[in-house]
């Protein structure tokens, strides 16, 4: 059964239409990659899923129609977002960033520190004073503290040092294999996506143009839609 299902989703920023009909399907426990070149509508799709951008079409999450649901209620249903650019609460400490988001469930502060020991070392430090990689860990930790059923990572490794990127990818693998969490990843690195994702959805000019198992994403599709 689908955990998240988007059918024919369209969205606009004022007069400018960004999405023209996105279809997406993620099953429970599945890790999916949302791919496409810059400006094709990946982040807009994420905003629609998280209800930060009004849309038409249908968005179902865990069997509920969330198309017209406010953002906070969608998050309460179990959609955890790691936004592009991290966007931690800069004037709050690491601990406060995590506690502010806490919902009942598997994840708590101690578990997040187990996953990212560095956050434990910087518990009382302001988010604004962390390095980019640490802020990214904090953003992932904050999303996990909401105890999501689906974790959405929007460009989670962008602009990070190779070692930190590696750490983030190993955490994503851990979340997949140890916890069985459903994840939607947006990233540009095809190599890592291939190693962790079960399926891929490719968006071109606000429209789903390819969808299938990750192993079926061949070079032709990658060249045509991703420029790789």
């Amino acid at each position: 059964m689908s955990l998240l299902q988007l059918s024919d989703v369209s969205a606009s920023y004022g007069a400018s239409q960004a999405l023209f009909g996105v279809d997406l399907d993620i099953a429970e426990g599945q890790v999916a990659a949302l791919m496409g070149r810059n400006g094709m509508g990946k982040s807009s799709t994420v905003k629609c899923i998280c209800r930060m951008l009004p849309s038409s079409g249908h968005i179902f999450f865990a069997g509920q129609d969330i198309t017209n649901m406010p953002s906070h209620r969608a998050a309460r249903l179990g959609i955890g977002l790691v936004p592009e650019g991290r966007r931690c609460f800069k004037d709050l400490s690491v601990y406060e960033n995590l506690v502010a988001a806490q919902q009942a469930g598997l994840w708590n502060f101690a578990k997040i520190v187990d996953l990212f020991p560095r956050l434990g070392e910087r518990e009382s430090q302001l988010a604004a004073s962390l390095s980019g990689g640490e802020q990214q860990m904090l953003a992932i930790g904050r999303a996990l503290m909401t105890n999501p059923r689906l974790l959405i990572l929007d460009e989670a490794t962008e602009g990070l040092a190779p070692l930190i990127r590696q750490e983030i990818w190993s955490v994503i693998s851990k979340l997949k294999y140890d916890i069985g969490l459903s994840i939607l990843v947006i990233d540009k690195s095809l190599k890592e996506l291939r190693s962790v994702c079960d399926k891929a959805v490719v968006i071109e000019r606000g429209l789903t143009v390819w969808s299938g198992q990750m192993k079926d994403l061949n070079q032709d599709v990658a060249e045509k839609y991703l420029g790789v």
Binding site: S71, H72, P83, F89, D91, A100, Q103, L126
Partner: protein, 327 residues
């Protein structure tokens, strides 16, 4: 941050030592001045919950101050005239008992906070300031035209209300009540700031849209803060009315709202003891400069100007430097 902790202790010390000294030296007027400062501080601590923690610039907090005042005035008026407050559907008489009056003031302020908050929080920025100001003015003009309770002339209460075990007519007794309430509210406020609610509210103040993505409703958080803020200011209003044994529409005026905000700004927005320092400085200036010139507000204006231009953290910020809300 330890420095701010010490400064707060000194401020609290001032509120304890000066009244004791005045009591020993038989200076009841000084005790009354300190009572006035403590009540103003309480009102400003209330505003600081909305302004400092929730980022809500309310220019209508006199609404709650007035509601608290009239809660006391109306109950005490009916008690002293032996007339019922209402006869149908049940008979309700007035009261001269402070705890009952405080509970009434807190409930009335909370209800007003809920209704005003629900409507006002649909707006933000300058529109929020204007709508809260409009509510304040609405209550102000209503109280002017409410002839049953004195209208423009206000309502005098002949004898201060009572508190079990204390003679509230003795200044030090009434001061003890006021300072105890102020300390209790400051302690609750310090717990509130560090609580998950306080942290979430601070996050909502910083980035409302981002808070929604972690499952929190920023409007609901701010509404809760606005109601809490209103109840504390309402309680201060009831105490202020009892101090003066008089309530009038002035308690609802926009000048009162402005003064409460000035206390917070002078002391330091978002600082736990900021409103306390602001109120103390205001009462001191009012007393000392008021004796020198009728235009003492000019000096207060200059102080406010200096703080806004050169010390955004208020007097506490100027002494202790920048600080985080949750430290």
């Amino acid at each position: 941050m330890m420095r701010e902790y010490y400064l707060n202790t000194i401020i609290l010390g001032i509120f304890i030592i000066i009244p004791i000294w005045a009591f020993i030296m038989d200076e009841p007027f000084t005790i009354t001045l300190m009572t006035r400062a403590a009540i103003f501080a309480l009102a400003a601590v209330g505003l600081n919950i909305a302004l400092g923690l929730g980022g809500l610039v309310s220019l209508g907090h006199a609404t709650f101050f007035g509601i608290g005042g009239y809660s006391m005035g109306i109950l005490a008026y009916h008690a002293q005239t032996f007339t019922p407050l209402m006869e149908w559907p049940i008979l309700v008489s007035g009261s001269k008992l402070m705890p009952l009056i405080w509970i009434n003031a807190v409930i009335m302020s909370a209800v007003a906070g809920l209704l005003i908050g629900i409507l006002s929080l649909r707006t933000s920025g300058v529109y929020f300031i204007m709508i809260t100001l409009a509510f304040g003015q609405m209550f102000f003009f209503f109280s002017i035209s409410w002839s049953a309770y004195g209208g423009e002339d206000g309502l005098s209460i002949y004898i201060r209300n009572s508190f079990p075990g204390l003679n509230t007519l003795v200044p030090i007794h009434y001061y003890t009540l006021c300072i105890t309430l102020l300390c209790a509210v400051l302690w609750i406020n310090s717990r509130l700031i560090k609580s998950p609610f306080g942290i979430a509210l601070n996050a909502a103040r910083q980035v409302p849209a981002r808070v929604e993505t972690v499952g929190l409703n920023p409007v609901r958080l701010k509404l809760a803060a606005f109601i809490m803020s209103g109840t504390v200011t309402g309680l201060a209003g009831a105490l202020f009315a009892d101090l003066n044994r008089f309530v009038s529409p002035t308690m609802f005026s926009w000048q009162t709202s402005g003064e409460i905000m000035v206390f917070v700004i002078i002391g330091g927005v978002g600082r736990l003891f900021g409103p306390v320092v602001g109120a103390l400085v205001f009462v001191a200036l009012e007393h000392w400069l008021g004796g020198l010139s009728d235009f003492w507000h000019i000096y207060l204006g200059l102080l406010l100007l200096g703080i806004v231009l050169f010390g955004r953290g208020g007097l506490i910020g100027m002494i202790c430097g920048e600080a985080r809300l949750h430290e």
